[in-house]
């Protein structure tokens, strides 16, 4: 298979990674801040307190700046499935296209209609209709997250479909299996609650800055009171659904799971690596390193993955070289069987064309028997270690995300406790921590996606379609040009966004300060 244009595959991946990561810089704040806005405005409508209205409007201004660039970076992603991954679009378009269309019909129109009322309707519609609109923006944005995450989850754990050898693509068998797969549900709740966490951290950080500067005390205190508890709850659900997601990975993507934990040799009673540092080459896996130093928690990995401390967790070597005792085929065997499936598909089509019905039936049987290895066929005759993702990136980004998650939860709890005890005043160290935690929220959020996407390499569709068979027929140079084009534009827009946001924060709100309502 020396025909593969690796430069094209790599640049296509780089462009998708670039645009997806840029998009994800803006989406979480939209998902979470819309929720926070809706709660704040509900408080305004319920209490009639004008200050809540002004607080809502202030955060709405921040929301607007972020929302626009989220929309801008989002359109590329949808069309990129076609422009850069054309084989993919056909091979699984029958399943993958549906969530994208539903996202447009059900979510985007909701979002775009009501966001305009939310921004411009304060004086044009009644209080209640306005409140409804703000809630609808939340529903719309989170619904759109649902559909795109269902689509992503399906790529990680393809279910509810079958391969049709006549149309040469996968076709949907059950819409509900696609929508309600445990991978999809965990992914959705994990992702949106992590977005709520990030948004709460942003509100917390900006409010803390105001407290440090002795400005906007009412806005800051009320916001902190709300998001400390909101963020803590969101973070706890993020942890629970993160655990659920990891269990799904262990079940359906054992290689990703092994890479996340830097586990080369499979074992029963596998320990969980709490922290680790790579540094020495792994003798059995080319270009991969193993730990120089690490701290383990015994049995924990087996327990977390399968709720059984004795459970066997396959390591990278078991998956590459096979473990017949545990019934694991080696990648070389899977590549051979994948090739059988692919060859059988070609032979089936030929037999059908020439009217050889029996031959067609025989080939179909071979295809069906080997279909679960289909994607591995593209690695026949190649170095099967290409099927191992970057262990370092998977491990570090996963652990960074988890450690930061712990920090966020602690921060929310401390804020919540001190606010409750009216002891927030003068806690400069805490305010500084909250300010510095804002960028960390983005680091954790992006790291989560890096685990999900780098860890599953080289699969675009797990076990079915590797990236080398999913790309479009373009020259790598064209993709390079568009990569740098998007890089330049998105970076410029990001700088503009940050500058506008900073200026908005510096300008502050319209909340009239009331001497009675202070820190105490």
């Amino acid at each position: 298979m020396e025909q593969i244009d690796f430069s094209l595959v790599d640049w296509s991946r780089a462009q998708f990674a670039l645009t997806a990561m840029y998009h994800w810089l803006f989406v979480p704040l939209t998902l979470g801040l819309s929720f926070i806005l809706a709660i704040m405005e509900s408080l305004y409508v319920k209490t009639g307190d004008e200050k809540w209205k002004e607080i809502t409007k202030f955060w709405m201004g921040i929301f607007g700046v972020n929302f626009a660039i989220g929309v801008a970076t989002g359109i590329i992603l949808e069309f990129e499935f076609g422009t850069n991954w054309s084989n993919y679009s056909w091979f699984v378009g029958d399943i993958f296209g549906a969530p994208l269309a539903i996202e447009g019909i059900m979510a985007f129109f909701l979002e775009s209609t009501f966001v305009a009322i939310m921004f411009f309707g304060w004086k044009k519609v009644s209080k209640k209709v306005h409140l409804l609109s703000t809630w609808m923006v939340f529903v719309g944005s989170n619904l759109s997250a649902l559909w795109i995450l269902v689509a992503n989850a399906w790529m990680q754990n393809p279910t509810g479909m079958r391969f049709n050898p006549d149309s040469v693509r996968n076709e949907m068998l059950s819409f509900w299996d696609v929508l309600l797969s445990p991978t999809a549900l965990n992914k959705f709740f994990h992702t949106v609650t992590s977005a709520y966490t990030l948004s709460a951290l942003m509100v917390l950080g900006i409010s803390s800055w105001y407290l440090l500067k002795n400005r906007e005390q009412i806005l800051a205190m009320r916001s902190i009171k709300l998001v400390a508890i909101f963020g803590a709850i969101a973070m706890i659900i993020t942890v629970i659904t993160g655990d659920g997601s990891a269990k799904e990975v262990a079940k359906h993507q054992p290689m990703k799971f092994a890479a996340m934990e830097g586990l080369y040799k499979g074992q029963q009673n596998a320990p969980l690596v709490a922290i680790g540092l790579f540094g020495k080459p792994n003798p059995a896996t080319p270009n991969k390193e193993e730990f120089l130093f690490h701290i383990e928690i015994p049995n924990m990995l087996s327990y977390l993955a399968f709720m059984d401390a004795n459970a066997f967790i396959p390591g990278i070597q078991d998956l590459v070289h096979g473990n017949h005792e545990k019934g694991i085929l080696s990648y070389t065997e899977r590549a051979e069987r994948g090739k059988m499936a692919i060859d059988a598909l070609a032979a089936y089509q030929l037999a059908k064309k020439t009217g050889k019905i029996e031959e067609a039936a025989t080939q179909l049987k071979i295809l069906e028997n080997n279909f679960e290895h289909f994607g591995y066929g593209y690695y026949f005759g190649r170095n099967v270690h290409e099927l191992v993702p970057s262990v370092k990136i998977s491990f570090y980004s996963f652990h960074l995300m988890v450690i930061l998650g712990g920090h966020f939860l602690l921060l929310f709890i401390v804020f919540w406790y001190l606010e409750k005890k009216k002891k927030l005043e003068g806690k400069k160290w805490l305010f500084h921590t909250a300010i510095w935690t804002m960028p960390l929220a983005y680091v954790a959020s992006e790291a989560g996606w890096v685990v999900a996407e780098v860890g599953r390499q080289p699969w675009v569709i797990q076990d079915l379609l590797p990236s080398i068979a999913a790309v479009s027929q373009i020259d790598a140079f064209s993709v390079q040009i568009t990569f740098f084009l998007f890089f330049t534009v998105f970076t410029a827009l990001l700088i503009a966004e940050i500058k506008i946001m900073l200026s908005k924060v510096k300008t502050g709100s319209q909340v009239i300060e009331n001497k009675q309502e202070t820190l105490k």
Binding site: M1, I75, I76, S89, D94, F109, T113, Q473, A492
Partner: protein, 392 residues
């Protein structure tokens, strides 16, 4: 309900939905058209702010319609998605790029600390208005003139030799050649539809401003420019339409599914589908009526007639391209690789599932209509803008 329909009926149903979304998109391109006239319609900053804010409250609807059009096309005709988007790479990337620039420009244009300056964002809006309309128009014209691509599904079984890719574009220009392909003067046809859509979007913007903004000077200037935009639109559109009726079209043999060239195919399609012809003509008349009452009678209701007319015209042009045994995305590289609604669609199951989702479309249209009416009770005025907390 839908599961009992035949695959062909579902394919036709989805072609109508995609066509309707495309038609709504072309109507909503008035936002883009308006963006190209910010300087000729407004003489000072106050007026320009009015124009930008008037358009700014609608831009997302256009944007969302484009995204939904893409998503619906993907879900219902994935082979088109993979072939056209992956093939005509530069055309689609240029269109998307123009829309990326637009999406931030309204929000950032007037904000403190916007880094690039107001003029830059206004230039972005202009680029979006020009490229977005011109390229979309030219791309749709290739539905009738064809493109150089091949589709070979069995390529996916290639484990040696070339890459295992199904759809390939057979020119190195990846779609840009649509504006210089000499064969059968396709470039003239494609360019003229591109320009027709560009001027259509501008004339619709004129009508929209006349309806949406409380300013006599903007009304008058819009009306004046409406005359020029309408004349240019008619020149390019009629040129494109008349040629369309006389060129050879891409027909499908209903028995063998073989694709062949047929004289005056699109004229035949009109005659063999009288409902399409009647609705198309009604659309044309409605657009003309909208222009007439606005230009001559100084009415502010022209946008409604021209809007409905645009939707009817574009919807029926799409039906002309896809129905009556016609290949809607023809390959001039290999006729037999042309895409038809039958050979490029999703499965029966997916089309059925999606058809249930399509029942939401009327609900969506209803709430958009209801809430926009609530928002547009009065025209946008300078006074309102001055008292507005969120403005562009």
């Amino acid at each position: 309900m839908f599961e009992n329909l035949s695959l062909l009926v579902l394919q036709q149903y989805w072609w109508i939905i995609v066509s309707l979304l495309g038609a709504l998109l072309v109507f909503l391109l008035f936002v883009q058209g308006g963006q190209t006239m910010l300087y000729c319609l407004a003489k000072d900053e106050k007026e320009r702010n009015l124009l930008v804010n008037s358009l700014g409250r609608k831009w997302e609807l256009t944007f969302t319609t484009l995204v939904t059009f893409g998503g619906a096309f993907f879900a219902s005709f994935p082979l088109f998605y993979s072939t056209s988007f992956g093939g005509a790479y530069w055309v689609w990337i240029a269109i998307l790029f123009a829309f990326v620039l637009q999406a931030v420009s309204y929000e950032y244009r007037n904000k403190k600390g916007n880094w690039l300056g107001q003029k830059t964002y206004e230039t972005f809006l202009f680029i979006n208005g020009l490229l977005g309309t011109l390229l979309l128009g030219a791309a749709v014209s290739t539905f009738f003139t064809g493109s150089m691509f091949s589709v070979e599904k069995m390529n996916i079984t290639r484990l040696s030799g070339e890459m295992p890719i199904i759809s390939s574009w057979e020119t190195p220009f990846h779609g840009l050649e649509a504006v210089w392909t000499l064969e059968k003067l396709a470039f003239l046809q494609n360019l003229s539809l591109g320009l027709a859509v560009f001027f259509l979007s501008r004339l619709l913007a004129n009508l929209y401003f006349m309806n949406n903004i409380e300013s006599q000077t903007i009304f008058e200037r819009s009306r004046k420019i409406l005359g020029i935009n309408s004349a240019l639109f008619l020149v390019f559109f009629l040129f494109w339409l008349i040629r369309l009726l006389f060129i050879d079209g891409f027909a499908v043999n209903p028995q063998t599914k073989e694709i062949f060239m047929q004289n005056n195919k699109y004229l035949h399609n009109f005659l063999e589908m009288p409902i399409v012809l009647i609705l198309f003509l009604l659309g044309v008349v409605s657009v003309l009526w909208g222009i007439f009452i606005s230009y001559i009678k100084k009415s502010d209701k022209g946008i409604w007639f021209a809007g409905v007319g645009t939707v009817l015209v574009v919807l029926n042009l799409f039906l002309l391209a896809g129905f009556n045994h016609t290949a809607y995305y023809p390959s001039t590289f290999n006729l037999q690789h042309s895409l038809t609604i039958e050979n490029s669609s999703s499965s029966h199951f997916t089309l059925t599932a999606m058809s249930y989702v399509s029942l939401f479309v009327p609900i969506v249209l209803a709430y958009i209509w209801y809430f926009w009416r609530a928002m547009n009770k009065t025209k946008l005025s300078t006074e309102e803008l001055e008292n507005e907390s969120h403005k562009y």
